[in-house]
């Protein structure tokens, strides 16, 4: 019996806890779409997509631990790198003479 299948109480395992947490993270990430669509400025939209990407990384890590698929973490690492590159690139190239960092 591994740690993921350990029962916390009444048949509710650690894997179930991580899956419920992943579902709640998904609903919080969907809430970000409000700002990504309605945001009055472009920077608001980039910021909302950046937060959404961070949530996606966390969801991938939680699912990888809960379902016993450790290679999800590789995808999460690549996603985190691309998310950072996206924010930096957009904020650098939308400004004239962009020296944002």
């Amino acid at each position: 019996m591994t740690f993921v299948t350990t029962v916390i109480f009444a048949g509710f395992t650690v894997a179930d806890l991580l899956l419920v947490a992943a579902a709640l993270f998904v609903s919080l990430a969907v809430m970000m779409l409000y700002r990504a669509i309605l945001g009055p400025t472009n920077q608001d939209r980039v910021l909302a997509v950046n937060v959404l990407g961070t949530n996606t990384v966390v969801i991938l890590a939680l699912l990888g631990a809960a379902l016993g698929e450790p290679w999800f973490l590789d995808i999460a690492l690549v996603y985190a790198l691309l998310n950072f590159l996206m924010s930096i690139a957009i904020s650098k190239f939308t400004v004239e003479r962009g020296g944002v960092i």
């Binding site: 740690f3 009055p40 920077q43 937060v51 966390v58 590789d74 904020s91 939308t94």
Partner: protein, 106 residues
């Protein structure tokens, strides 16, 4: 005994991660302008992601995958505030005025 402590730590880290991510989501939706939203996105969201990834690392235990999780945690702690700073600075250089008391929400 040690297993009970480990389960307790996982539950606490997951709940704290969810709480801080909820605070960050509320801030990004409710706060009045792009600079205050960048503030909540850089701090509360980084802490929430850190707690959730710590829970994942505790769940995995001593495995090669744990090293990747810790790397991911350190990477997010470094890059998330940097990205929010770059976005806020791009907004400032585009000439967006910061919100002050009495202005309407944007």
């Amino acid at each position: 005994m040690i297993e009970t402590i480990r389960i307790g730590l996982v539950v606490v880290a997951v709940v704290l991660g969810l709480f801080f991510t909820f605070v960050s989501a509320t801030g990004v939706i409710r706060l009045p302008d792009v600079f205050s939203r960048a503030h909540t996105a850089s701090q509360a969201d980084t802490l929430g992601a850190g707690f959730a990834l710590a829970a994942v690392a505790l769940t995995l235990g001593w495995e090669p995958a744990t090293v990747k999780t810790v790397l991911l945690l350190v990477f997010i702690f470094v890059t998330n505030p940097t990205a929010a700073h770059a976005i806020a600075r791009a907004a400032y250089e585009e000439g967006i005025e910061p919100w002050t008391t009495g202005d309407e929400r944007r």
